[in-house]
Amino acid sequence: MKRIEPILALALAGAIIAAAVAAPWLRFVLTIALAKGIAVMGILLLLRAGQVSFGHALYIAFGAYTVAFLAPRVGDAVVLLPLAALGAGALGLLIGLFVTRYRQIFFGMLNLAMSMVFYSLLEKLYHFTKGSDGIRVEIMPVAGQALDRIAYEWTIFGIALGLAFALGLLLRLYLASPMGEALAGIKTRETRLEFMGVPARGVLLSAYVLSAMVGGLGGALIALTSRHVTPLLAYWTSSGELVFIAILGGAGGVLGPFLGATAYELIRVYAAASFADAWQMILGASLLLVILFAPGGVWGMAARAVGGRGR
């Protein structure tokens, strides 16, 4: 399975590009899907340790607002993206030092609490954040090139796709490395790690910081794409959405988040267009079906279809 993963990734990328070319409005949806997929890789990382964060939209929002705040000063997407990732990573380190002391439901809920604090700051500090109105992000140059709207959107799409590939590859290496495998060890035998001389909390904290960084990056891409940031990005439903996508896509492989995010965004768009009042029901039903009949998620289904195991 591991060997055909890159081939599947190329196939998925090809399909995404074809869809974006065929239907320009899909380009927007798919860029958002790629951005969310990147953020959901962070959820996947923590799931490896058996931990579920119900507050990771915090890092998405942080990355998005980093772009919104700095765009007037640092008007270049290529500079803003790493800044958003680093900023989110620093925030992740700060919060991670605290939340990685906890496990399971406490870990999940503390993350939720953090994101709610951030959400209300975004709402309340109207002077800085324009409250629930949010902040607009203007089209900006990319790597010094001033672009028209279409070229800009294509460029951000391309960056999202490139980052998805590069980060997916890095995550894949990370998960198979001693740090990644020790992370999985936290799920089943955390104390044994300590008796081997491995600081389990340090292992989890590293993963947490990485998850915050990809969250920030995903958020920055979302801001560059939707060009409007609001506190809703940090709202708990957005965090739930990330976990939703992770489960939908399947936690078995690096492709899971992207399969999940693409499926999620497409279901959402089509369901909202066809059954305006029922799209949440349709999303809920899809997740229910996945959990009941394909616990490995879309990735697990794909893996089975190709005849290997999801892992």
Binding site: S177, P178, F195
Partner: protein, 258 residues
């Protein structure tokens, strides 16, 4: 065998009213195999837990290579060269046996490499070598949660050995191992440890194993050491037989007047 590798003095630890350690004085000599025997609840595991930093004694000191280790964390203690295995094997259940051992190898070599695979050639070779010495090659690719009790016990010890300790504490290494395989397995284990010049302390309920493989045996009873010496002597002591061995070994076998 004249130098003490580990020295425990006056260890005391109580859980509520239960005195799990009630004044333990013990020297573990460099290179020896020291067996710990004693009835359930005597405090054998508690001694291992204190030595490895999992429990902190209420009073007393533990010194390793002349250095005080009381109160250090399990992580700090293992770095000094003390490893342990567990009464209930502590394996990473979603990993294969080979990955479990390779993780221990990586833990020793430095875990902080985020991009090179865990099963890189050096780690994999070492893990396979250890598994081969334990006779576990056949189950190297089995997931840890699919093993029988005996195999889990051995894999658990293999992980501890992969840390290359100078002192290894094993909590009932042969419990759960089928009686027919027990002696062969212990023999293998002892050879591995002798080759690696590891000093070993092991809690053991099988007196035949103790007699055959221990240099000395310490008899635990209600948080105290009731007797200590060569197995032939200690196991022949009528008081020891009455209090400890009587319940574990067929009494008529040893009793001279039976």
């Amino acid at each position: 065998m004249s130098e003490a590798l580990l020295r425990a003095t006056g260890l005391r630890l109580a859980f509520g009213g239960v005195r799990a350690a009630d004044g333990i004085d013990l020297d573990v000599m460099k290179g020896e195999f020291l067996a710990i025997i004693g009835p359930n609840g005597a405090g054998k595991t508690t001694f291992i837990n204190m030595t490895t930093g999992y429990l902190k004694p209420n009073a007393g000191e533990i010194a390793y290579e002349g250095r005080r280790i009381t109160g250090l964390s399990p992580r700090a203690i293992v770095k000094l060269g003390i490893a342990r295995s567990f009464q209930l094997p502590q394996l990473f259940l979603e990993h294969t046996v080979e990955q479990n051992v390779a993780l221990a190898v990586a833990a020793r070599m430095g875990i902080w490499s985020p991009l090179a695979p865990l099963l890189r050639p050096s780690h994999r070779d070492e893990a396979r070598d250890i598994l081969a010495r334990f006779g576990l090659t056949a189950i190297a690719d089995s997931r840890a949660d699919a093993l029988n009790e005996g195999a889990r016990k051995l894999a658990d010890i293999a992980m501890a050995v992969a840390l290359k300790p100078r002192l290894l504490l094993m909590d009932e290494p042969t419990s759960g191992v089928a009686a027919s395989e027990k002696m062969t397995i212990v023999e293998t284990l002892v050879n591995v440890l002798r080759d690696a010049k590891v000093t070993a302390v092991f809690v053991e309920h099988d007196m035949d194993v103790v007699e055959r493989f221990a240099d000395r045996v310490a008899v635990w009873s209600q948080g105290r050491i009731a007797a200590l010496g060569p197995p032939a002597e200690v196991l022949a002591d009528p008081a020891v037989q009455r209090e400890v061995i009587g319940i574990e070994r067929h009494p008529t076998k040893e009793a001279p007047h039976a």
